[in-house]
Structures are given as C-alpha cells and as structure tokens.
Amino acid sequence: MADLRIDLAGIKSPNPFWLASAPPTNSGYQVQRAFEAGWGGAVWKTLGEPILNVTSRFAAVSFNGQRVAGFNNIELITDRPLEVNLQEILETKKKFPSHAIIASLMVEPQQEKWHEIVKKVEAVGVDGLELNFGCPHGMAERGMGAASGQVPELVEKQTYWVKEVARTPVIVKLTPNITDITMTAEAAVRGGADAVSMINTINSLAGVDLDTWNTVPHVGGKGSHGGYCGPAVKPIALNMVAECARNTFVNVPISGIGGISNWQDAAEFMLMGATGVQVCTAAMHHGFSIVEDMIDGLTNYLDDKGIASVMDLVGQSVQRYSDWGDLDLNYKIVAEINNDVCINCNKCHIACEDTSHQCIDLYTESGRPMLKVREQDCVGCNLCSIVCPVDGAISMVERKSTIAPMTWNERQSLISNFAR
C-alpha cells in the first residue's frame, strides 16, 4: 500500500490532506474530530487580536443544480482570545502528536507584534506557522491580510520579522487578488519563508437578491465584498500553484489550496507542484468524513500506478506547463464523432456552427440522422467534445502534421532574423 506521509518543509503529517485555516478549524473540538476522521493536519483558524463578526456570513453559488459550486464568506479571523486557542492547540497536540497542527497568524505589520504572537504560539508546540497575507475582507480594511499580501515589500519584511524568532517552519499564505502571484511568492522566499501556500479567497460578491435588491449575503440590508472559494476557483488556484512551482525563484515547497474537493483534485495539485493540500469548502459542504474517500482514492491511484510514496507525485507535471509561446503551432488534433454512441442531441453541431468553426455537418444515412466532422476545417478546439453529454461520442484524435514542429517563439525568431 502506498505511503501517504508527507514532509512539507519539515512539517510531517500522516497524509497530504490538511484542513485549511477557516471555520472547520475554529476550535480544539473540531480539529480533534477532524483528526479522528482521518485528516493529516489542520491549519488552525487564524489567530490574532480577537475580532467581532457579523451575521450573516456565508453565501454559495449554485449552478444548474450543483450546490456550492462556489462559496463566499465575510467571516473574519478567530473571535476567541489567544489563550483559549493556545490551550486547545496544546490539548489537541497532546492527543494527536503525529498529526500536523499549523497556526495561522495575522497581526498588524509591526515587528514586535509578530515577535509576540510567534513566541506565544510556538510555546504550545505547533508544528509550523502560516502567515495569513491573504484574507481579502474585513481585516484587509485594517491593513492586514490581503492588504499586506498585495505589497511584495510588506510580505518580505513581515516574513523576515517572523523568521527572526520562529523555530518552526514558516509558511506564507498568499492572496490571489494580485496580477502575478509569483511576485509575492518570490518576496516571501526573500524574506526567508520555508514554504508558501495558495490560494486564499478571491474578492467576490455572491449575488444580488432580485426580490429585495439586497446583496447576498447581507447584514441588515448592507453587504460588503467577501472571499470566494470552492470548486469554482480550482482552475485559478491550480494555475497559481503551477506558476510558482515552475518559477526558479520560488524554490520552497507549496501547500496547495483552492477548491480541492476530492482525491483527484489533490493529485492534480501535487502533480503541479504542491507537496500537500488544504481543504475547506468541501469539508464545510460534506463534513469531515470526506477525507476517508480522499485517502482511499489517492491510495488506490498510487497503487494502481505502482507509485510507492505520494511524495513521488510532487511536481511531476510542472515541466509540462509552459508559456503559450513555447507550444507547437503545428500540433494537430481533430474531432471524431462516433455515430453509434451519439444520441443526436446536436449540441456539438449547434456549438460548432454558432460559436466555433462550422465544421460539423448534419446528414442522413438510411433515414438515420448522422453527424460528421469536416476534418480540414476543424481547428481542434475541443468545444464539441466539451458540450457533448455522452461519454465516448466525440473523441479528439491526433493527426500527424505534415510540417515540422515550430513554436510561436521559434517562428518569431526565425522571421525577425530574416526580415530585411
């Protein structure tokens, strides 16, 4: 059976599945129940000066019957005194010594405030620290969270202050609310970060109630932007993890966060460079027990592939992620329709005719409606196979190109060198 243990910058846990710093890790009661359910680690809900919350706090975006396709919150960091949290961390660590407990921290950008909280938290035996430079709402209005995390100099400086006194590994959690996350990731590394984690939530407004015209959620008729997460953000998070993983200056482990809902998502993040993953929305939607399927699924996947350790997955797909300019312009795929499986819903024809390259023809054969791709006009965009509701009805198949591979960058170099 495959070994699921991970070592992220010296933080060891029995499996790569950690709960992210969020409502599921608000208390010792919750974290202990999560560990009993099988979670390998937990990033404690962010510690700092206790805040005040509002009601309501959450909203979800459903799409075509899929509940919680996206999740929005305006809840802040812990509203409990530091001492209460520390006592519960101490108790939890005693009960679960082999599980990872990481303390998420957020204070004002002042050296002495970082020193004070780091020393207090490490005194109760946490395995690591995660600096919350990502929370986009509420705390950011007070100069913390994403307000700090959007300024590389502040990320570097605060990381440096933490590293001045920290004895445990320091993970810097980054905000996605920035044009290029590698800029702040590099700043964290310059400040001495042992690892980075991403992504925190994305600035969002879940919706507007068409009856009341209130925002969703609203607090007595007023709303403010929140943080968006859940399955809808996974592609955004995966790209940011990959961009950092392939950046030579971000040479520290990555903890992947963002819409991870099952073992497949976790495996994708690890292949793209994450050493472990953090989960929140899926646990809030389905409960702590979802980790059982994650553990079983990942174990079976590794066993089927003959991979001994989950750590062997880390980064295996990074080299396959490149710049657009390095893709082969002459690589060719085309759509192929299997009329034996096709149910003639014609969604592919409509999609291609209306919004792509008009290369799927309708015809009849022995009185039966059929579809056929005119290969010479197919650009291999995938749209027909994406909208097709039947597995196996449309395949994208490779066609050998008659001309040699050439990337855009190679082409531009060739032309610019030749032009007179």
Binding site: L329, M406, N417, R420
Partner: protein, 68 residues
C-alpha cells in the same frame, strides 16, 4: 471560398514560387496578414498570405530555406 480552400491555395502559391526557383527574400507582417517577397535573379514578386494555416506552412518553408 472556405478558409481551408483559401489556405490550400495560398500554400500552393508558396510551393509554386519555390518550385520555380524563387527564393524568399523578405517577409513582414501587419494587420492584413503576412507579406512575402520572393526573388529570382532580377524578378521580384510579393505574395500576401492571409490564412493562419498557410502562415504556419510558410514558416516551415522559411526554416527549410534558412537551413539549406
């Protein structure tokens, strides 16, 4: 004319010039596509290539000329 037929036609024109001994002399691109100047002794012709497939094809031909 469909994009495919137009690109086939443009690729054929590129091949025709090269088969007749013309060499690619200059190439530039602008909002109207790619313009290729072919040269054979004192003779010069300019071919506009509009389609994406033919512009890819031409780049391969240009590479061949620079390599041999």
């Amino acid at each position: 004319m469909s994009d495919h037929l137009l690109s086939m036609d443009e690729m054929k024109q590129v091949d025709d010039y090269l088969d007749r001994g013309f060499k690619i002399h200059n190439v530039y691109e602008n909002l109207s596509g790619m313009f290729v100047e072919f040269e054979r002794q004192e003779e010069e012709v300019c071919l506009q290539i509009q389609t994406a497939e033919a512009r890819k094809y031409f780049a391969a031909k240009l590479q061949e000329q620079t390599q041999f």
